[in-house]
């Protein structure tokens, strides 16, 4: 598998994302193309990971979990990173669309993160002999997911859209701080979890299928986040749009516009 092969679908993903941002009319079909691309990449990625990639020197065939575990965690970090940045943006310039994006990215980030941690535990059993250990990376990843789950739970219990958006944005920022801990934990502390694999330390035939699967999961993450965003936007429009026939002709208490 040549090194440049993954660049083609990655370039397509970036190009389609740019089209999605630039053209509202294109949003009807961009997600469909990326869904098909993601699905095809994950199916071919499963073949590459399960059949094509060579057996690892020490972990044998168990290491093949890497082709799902690492891409899932990367997609989760992206989702929760978008949530953290969106939360900061929301607190600075309040806007419902930002809040909707935060909600969508948090849900997808927690989903992929939970899967990633679960797969890590499945991988840990045959290699480390335990399902779980309080290693810095595992602990910080679990903390990040607990904060993310708390973010989603908080949003379910607050009825007022304004308070919900503000309070959950504060929680989202904490999740972002922990995200940095997750990323740097293996470098800063003496960790059981291995450090980041690079082309200098790992056979390219092992790394390339991982990058292929990573792009596939990125496509999937985009499709999920987009649809979850649209769902959040529709819900928000119903919540903040008050009927005009109110006693005394009172105006809406919260504007629905992009910024207030």
């Amino acid at each position: 598998m040549p090194a440049w092969l993954t660049l083609i679908p990655l370039s397509l993903l970036v190009a389609l994302f740019a089209v999605h941002l630039a053209s509202p009319s294109a949003r009807r079909w961009v997600w469909k193309v990326l869904a098909v691309q993601g699905l095809l990449m994950l199916i071919s990625g499963a073949y590459l990971g399960l059949v094509w990639a060579p057996t690892e020197m020490m972990m044998g065939d168990v290491y093949r979990i890497i082709y799902a575990h690492v891409p899932l965690v990367w997609a989760a970090l992206l989702g929760l990173g978008i949530n953290a940045i969106g939360s900061i943006v929301y607190l600075a310039h309040k806007g419902w669309l930002t809040d909707c994006l935060c909600e969508a990215s948090a849900e997808v980030g927690v989903l992929f993160g939970s899967l990633g941690v679960l797969l890590g535990a499945i991988w840990a059993k045959p290699t480390w002999g335990v399902w779980w250990t309080w290693d810095p990376r595992l602990t910080s990843a679990a903390t990040m997911l607990i904060i993310g789950a708390g973010y989603l739970t908080l949003r379910r219990f607050i009825d007022d859209p304004d308070k919900r958006a503000t309070w959950s944005a504060v929680v989202g920022i904490f999740s972002g701080v922990d995200l940095l801990l997750v990323w740097y934990s293996v470098k800063v502390w003496n960790s059981l979890h291995q450090v980041q694999s690079t082309q200098q330390t790992v056979d390219p035939n092992i790394l390339r299928p991982m990058y292929w699967n990573a792009v596939g999961f990125l496509c999937l993450a985009f499709v999920f986040i987009w649809h979850r965003f649209v769902l959040a936007r529709e819900t928000r429009a119903r919540e903040v749009a008050l009927p005009s026939a109110l006693p005394g002709g009172l105006p809406s208490t919260a504007s629905v516009g992009g910024s207030r």
Binding site: A46, G60, L119, K125, E234, P243, G257
Partner: protein, 77 residues
């Protein structure tokens, strides 16, 4: 010395290759969990979108709603 040779051969045979053998059940479990979870989430998201669209259409048909106002368009300004 020669009597130790069978013992040495036995010990050497008990030493592994230094590589994990098997473990395919962990790999399959991981892939199946991933695919099933993603498929279930996609299905759940699709159902929630349908329900949301139906609710929005229902609200748009309510007579008290100001027909000149489109909150979704207002959100995008």
């Amino acid at each position: 010395m020669s009597s130790l040779l069978p013992v040495a051969a036995l010990v050497a045979g008990a030493v592994g290759s230094g590589r994990l053998e098997g473990g395919w059940e962990y790999v399959w479990a991981s892939y199946i969990i991933t695919w099933v979870t993603c498929a279930l989430y996609a299905f759940n998201l699709w159902r929630r979108r349908l329900a949301s669209q139906a609710e929005t259409e229902l609200e748009n048909r309510e007579p008290s709603r100001d027909p000149a106002r489109n909150p979704v368009e207002e959100m995008n300004r």
